[in-house]
């Protein structure tokens, strides 16, 4: 039996992001949201562990009412129940405050062997929640896992580092972050989607978690975002569109030679 708490974040669809040409700021309003890809693989990993060892998968997400869609999807993939952490006071939380909210949630849920999440969410790219939870919950951490297996009361994982791969063993409970290579997430069947609509999503706010307003949200955060802008792209943007491909190739090669790029 392995009880897994898996943490997910629903993020804006990054492929839809466009930049406002006058301000150079990315336009985020109106974008659709989906589970951050690596987090989805964490859900898949949790469900696979349950299928192999028995146990339960609890899905947790910090968000708003729209986040229910992401939680339903995770439940359709095989999650047993879900928690939506929602409170106006949570808005503007950085990783410090987010980890506090998640740690309080995990402690309240209790009875876990494994905390699973993606190595990072693809929007903020912070890669902090897993390690922060390790510290806050007093648990060991195994990051960048691309293979995991539970053997008795131990986790065996293969970690993907820069120059080397590491196989590690650690007693449960443990916080694990997974990489994109860990699996291919399943596409839930219609029956699973229907079953998921009957599973419980519990909503908790700051009061339920025993967190005061100054521990969460922008007030409880340490990092403030001052400005978000599209990276400067100082490119020539010369488009070569001519009759034949030979002409196009000639025009390109001439320019590259003139620029000294090709010698």
């Amino acid at each position: 039996m392995v009880n897994v708490i898996v943490l997910i974040k629903d993020i804006v669809d990054l492929t839809e992001i466009k930049v406002d040409p006058s301000t150079q700021r990315p336009i985020l309003a109106g974008l659709s949201r989906k589970i951050s890809d690596v987090d989805k693989r964490a859900v898949e990993a949790a469900v696979q562990l349950k299928e192999k060892n028995g146990g339960r998968v609890v899905v947790v997400s910090l968000g708003d009412d729209k986040t229910r869609t992401a939680l339903r999807e995770a439940l359709a993939m095989g999650g047993d129940e879900a928690y939506l952490l929602k409170d106006p006071a949570f808005e503007g939380s950085d990783t410090l405050a987010t980890a506090r909210i998640l740690a309080a949630t995990i402690e309240k849920i209790g009875n876990y062997d494994l905390i699973l999440c993606g190595e990072m969410t693809l929007d903020s790219l912070s890669a902090q929640v897993g390690p922060r939870l390790g510290a806050l919950l007093g648990l060991p951490q195994v990051t960048y896992a691309r293979k995991l297996e539970v053997k008795g009361d131990m986790l065996v994982a293969e970690r993907d580092l820069e120059e080397e791969d590491e196989v590690v063993e650690v007693p449960l409970p443990v916080v694990v972050t997974v990489t994109r290579e860990v699996n291919e997430p399943r596409i839930p069947a219609l029956m699973s989607i229907m079953r998921a609509s009957r599973k419980t999503i519990t909503e908790w706010g700051g009061e339920a978690l025993g967190l005061s307003a100054d521990e969460v949200g922008a007030i409880g955060s340490a990092v403030r975002v001052l400005e978000v802008k599209a990276p400067p792209m100082e490119r020539k943007r010369t488009i070569i569109k001519v009759e034949t491909e030979e002409e196009a190739a000639r025009s390109l090669v001439e320019r590259l030679i003139k620029d000294g790029v090709v010698k």
Partner: protein, 325 residues
């Protein structure tokens, strides 16, 4: 502990080369703040040479935590060692090398200290009030966020090659060894194997040609290989071609290799923000794509609108003549 101690700048990386780069960045911050710069060396049998190197590259102080248990990197033990240093010598700014190990260490330390951490910073500066500000990629690499850390110590992780290694000079510095009570590591490494290194890293290639989903089948990549041969270039691809179709092992992009060649030619690549994040630092970017509306053309110096199956062979032929190969 004196008042100036809590104003200091401390740098740490388990990667010695990156530590020296951080000393360059840290020196500038420390000078602006009018404070001391310290390097932390954690390990077993830390050589005197490394201590001297840290001083030569800008450290006023070198804190050395030398224990047999620190022979290999374990995030909990290493974190405990670093926290001991920070407890004895509180600092204002802590820079940690953003290797994968550094990036799992920094937030763990930040959580214990109840402070903020800014990941993968590409610039570091101080605002009017002397607070650490940084720029970092966000939204999957489609935007740059400028952030400030309001709590102390202000922690930032910095990727390799972001800052130049300073020129060593004959400076003097103080070496301070610290004794640390270390926890028994819970995570046990049972196997460690070196990754199979490509004989030649794509990051080092002066010219790279990349293929995307405009290629209909794997065999067609041969067209690009022929072009690459003329240009002495390396062939790579976008994430779907490697991760989903398994045409190649590695890809260029946010989650793959980030390259900065003299010339990058993107062929049949639509130019998702994730891919562009991996080529942003190329000196010259060329794209070949049949669709004039495809986003890659916003990120190029030269964009050729045309059928890659005709443009690429034409390019190869022409370059062969021009370069007399």
């Amino acid at each position: 502990m004196s008042a100036t101690d809590s104003q200091g700048v401390i740098v740490y990386s388990e990667n010695h080369n990156l530590l020296l780069e951080l000393l360059g960045a840290g020196r500038r911050l420390a000078d602006k703040l009018g404070t001391q710069l310290s390097a932390v060396l954690i390990g077993s049998k830390v050589t005197e040479e490394r201590q001297k190197e840290a001083v030569k590259h800008g450290a006023d102080r070198v804190y050395v935590v030398d224990e047999p248990r620190l022979k290999t990197f374990d995030v909990e033990t290493c974190g405990a060692a670093l926290l001991t240093v920070l407890k004895a010598y509180a600092s204002k700014v802590l820079l940690i090398g953003a290797t994968k190990r550094g990036k799992e260490l920094a937030p763990r330390v930040a959580a214990v200290l109840e402070t903020g951490c800014m990941t993968d910073c590409i610039t570091l500066d101080l605002d009017g009030e002397g607070r650490l500000t940084a720029k970092r990629m966000t939204y999957g690499g489609s935007a740059i966020a400028e952030v400030v850390c309001l709590k102390k110590p202000q922690i930032a992780t910095v990727p390799p090659k972001t800052f130049e290694k300073p020129t060593p000079s004959d400076r003097t510095g103080e070496v301070i060894p610290l004794r640390v009570a270390l926890p028994e590591p819970k995570v046990k490494v049972v196997e460690r194997r070196q990754k199979q290194q490509a004989a030649f890293r794509i990051e080092d290639a002066p010219v790279v040609v990349g293929c995307g989903r405009g290629f209909k089948k794997k065999e067609d990549v041969k067209l690009l290989e022929e072009l690459a041969e003329v240009l002495d270039a390396r062939v790579s691809c976008t994430r779907p071609l490697a991760a989903d179709y398994h045409w190649m092992q590695e890809w260029i992009g946010l989650s793959g290799h980030k390259i900065r060649p003299k010339l990058y030619i993107a062929v049949g690549i639509s130019g998702t923000i994730q891919h562009v994040a991996g080529i942003r630092d190329a000196q010259t970017i060329v794209a070949v794509n049949a669709d004039e509306e495809t986003p890659i053309f916003n990120a190029v110096d030269y964009g050729v609108v045309g059928d890659l199956y005709k443009v690429v062979p034409a390019l190869t032929k022409l370059l062969k003549e021009k370069l007399r190969k």
